[in-house]
Symmetry: C2
Subunit: 208 residues, 2 copies
Amino acid sequence: MGEIIKPMDIEKESFRIISEELGETNLGEKELLVLKRVIHTTADFEYKNNLKFNHNPVEKGIELLKNGCVIVTDTTMALSGISKPALKKGGNDAYCFISDDDVISEAKERGITRAQVAMEKAAKINKPLIIAVGNAPTALIKLDELMKENKIKPELIIACPVGFVNVVESKELILNHNIASIVAKGRKGGSNVAAAIINAMLYQAFER
Amino acid sequence: MGEIIKPMDIEKESFRIISEELGETNLGEKELLVLKRVIHTTADFEYKNNLKFNHNPVEKGIELLKNGCVIVTDTTMALSGISKPALKKGGNDAYCFISDDDVISEAKERGITRAQVAMEKAAKINKPLIIAVGNAPTALIKLDELMKENKIKPELIIACPVGFVNVVESKELILNHNIASIVAKGRKGGSNVAAAIINAMLYQAFER
């Protein structure tokens, strides 16, 4: 391995390779940076076709992050993947309620998922809200319910749970709402993808 | 969405679908459960061809986890994705050193990546060791160096960084060692994949 590229140049070179292999897209510059970061995180070019941007979500997300908002993720992994230094620059907060004691006990009592209860907890936040779901379709299904009941109104939804059951359908539910969203259509997604999407907006909002 | 499957049955049904679509493999039962959990985490059947098991790593991993070992991950995301209740059942510990103050300052001083310094820190652990790399090829490259210098001797290596630069090569380095390993060949991998592999072994070691 005599030709190892210097660590600090790896990301730059990675994005060059991604741009080259990606070819033409019909995305704007801001969306394209989100797509490239998702591919950087997954090495999966299927996102070129799967990742859908609805109601100008990237510009909206960047504005939200610049002005200070609250991000709620469905998993601690997604939360853990979000760049904390960049997050703090805009005075943003990020939470995941899935492992909170009250969420765990309430989910057990009611026989529903912790992701569902965690989404109800998110509905109590009175600040501009980004919901980022990378794992639990039940979180999106609950979010759809809460939105229909006017109990929550996120400014932006990142909808990319991964999996084989309820996942595709849960994403379609989100697309029915007149709300800015970034949706990984189909089965693919993940906590890493949700975090990458948030980070791609953070890096556009703030110098790294 | 009138036919939503109950949350608790989602995983079971997901694994049924995965088994059906996966078809025949030449893997043993224990390895197969690891592969299926990786596909469950990524919805990506490419791992059927990419995921390589060397020197009986799954049986070894299960034994290590049953008897108490230390897992070191390269990212907080991978650490965060490991099932903590299962981990504790065997008296195992898991660490990620990437955000430790001493690692950050030493990496800056020496002009190398935090992942490299974190791997040197892992080398100081005097317990049976599983190294799980889901992100940083430089962690694997450093690990290869340390192994050649007899400064570290992990019992098991999970090698699945993701990306476009140094990644494929860093995985090949690990395959040259006579050590149990699970390697996601090629560009794909991720912190989620590393965590899924650990969890698949934990779930085989302990009742959930």
